[in-house]
């Protein structure tokens, strides 16, 4: 087990890179912990409990800013929590080599998903075509401080968003990550919600989803306080600093650098899984 100082230091860096890249700290800390000799299942368990901290911390601010859509969040949480329990259960019974490969593949896929984001800042005000989505009343308004106007929107295709969110929850529970990038893509591309609503509502869902997965890992005896405590205490400030810096950052090449780091980590995980290097 690495020392507490090392665990906190790498967690701060992971939280920072996770926030800068928009993919969350879990996706960085798990490969790094395994490089430091931590068992991948314990790394996943420590990561998923830290996800509760980072998402709840961020969501607390977003909810008070009244951008988060509670209705959208509560509807989709029904799918993500079931997915998370299934995903965490699969991890517990899976071999370690396959987890390395799957983690690497999901990391590359999530990274690619960021480039697919074609969401609009404003979403849409169209009435949904299907009766089911209309019945859910997924309308909302928020004040966009950047645009200096009130944005009105209405969620679309919830019948498709739900099952996709099950997959996002499964990914989160399976790999101990927030899977925020995947959730935001579903919000924007399928449900056509505005970018700010997508990001903030995704944050709210991530905490509850992580709790469902954490319960499974706790029951399996994979939550190690010696690992989880320093990781939580490191990732949280790292993510806060990363978010602050990101707001001021305009240089795309800097962000691109962090994206390259994530690709390298993804390829490295796949290689270790295929080579049987645990």
């Amino acid at each position: 087990m690495p020392s507490v100082a090392v665990l906190i230091a790498v967690s701060v860096v992971a939280g920072f890179i996770g926030a800068m890249s928009g993919m969350g700290g879990g996706i960085v800390i798990i490969p790094v912990l395994t490089l430091l000799g931590v068992d991948i299942k314990q790394a996943i368990a420590a990561s998923i409990i830290s996800v509760i901290a980072t998402s709840s911390g961020a969501a607390s601010a977003y909810v008070r800013d009244r951008i988060t859509n509670l209705r959208v969040g509560m509807f989709l949480e029904m799918f993500t929590i079931v997915g998370a329990i299934v995903g965490a259960t699969i991890t517990i019974v899976s071999g370690r080599a396959i987890l390395f490969v799957v983690f690497g593949l999901v990391l590359l896929a999530s990274w690619g998903a960021l480039f697919l984001e074609r969401g609009t800042e404003r979403g849409t005000q169209e009435r949904p075509r299907d009766r089911f989505t209309r019945s859910l009343d997924l309308r909302g308004t928020f004040y966009d401080a950047g645009e200096r106007e009130t944005i009105r929107y209405e969620g679309q295709r919830s019948w498709l968003g739900g099952p996709f969110m099950f997959v996002a929850g499964l990914t989160a529970g399976l790999l101990g990550i927030g899977a925020g990038a995947l959730k935001v893509v579903i919000f924007e591309l399928i449900m056509r919600l505005p970018s700010k609503v997508s990001t903030t509502t995704s944050n709210l869902i991530i905490g509850v989803t992580a709790l469902a997965g954490t319960s499974v890992y706790l029951a399996a005896g994979l939550i190690d306080p010696a690992l989880a405590a320093p990781v939580v205490l490191g990732i949280l400030p790292g993510a806060l600093i990363g978010t602050r810096v990101l707001v001021r950052l305009t240089n795309r090449s800097v962000r691109l650098f962090f994206m390259v780091v994530l690709v390298v980590l993804g390829l490295e995980m796949i290689w270790r899984g295929l080579a049987g290097v645990g």
Binding site: S56, V63, M78
Partner: protein, 125 residues
């Protein structure tokens, strides 16, 4: 039926504070655990393990951890428990919101389903 906007705003604020308070208390407890362990043993590394258990059993076992030497364990356990309960409390608050403020029974059913699955997960062992 929708509640007045100021009531909805109040609920948003309440949920925001629940999340912030939960994370803050947890961070303080976990920090204290590491510092206390450092003072007692000369190293901040926690040395106890958690057996496979449900969160409910885990919470019930906290009372059995006594003595100054066991204080870091109790603090770390409590810190992790508070962190895990934070989103759970938020879901319970949402059920109350949709039932008693919005009177939206469809969303009461949705949030109750989420609460029921989470409650089941807290009893997993």
């Amino acid at each position: 039926m929708s509640a007045p906007r100021d009531v909805v705003g109040l609920m948003d604020t309440l949920i925001g504070w629940i999340l912030l308070a939960g994370v803050s208390i947890s961070v303080v407890l976990l920090s204290l655990a590491l510092v206390w362990q450092w003072v007692v043993t000369g190293s901040p590394a926690l040395t106890f393990a958690l057996p496979g258990t449900s969160l409910v059993s885990f919470l019930l076992s906290l009372g059995a951890v006594t003595g100054a030497a066991s204080a870091p364990q109790a603090l770390a356990d409590l810190g992790l428990a508070v962190l895990m309960l934070t989103p759970y409390v938020r879901v319970l608050a949402s059920v109350v919101f949709f039932a008693f403020v919005e009177h939206d029974w469809k969303y009461v059913a949705f949030t109750s389903f989420v609460g029921a699955v989470l409650t089941y997960s807290l009893f997993l062992r």
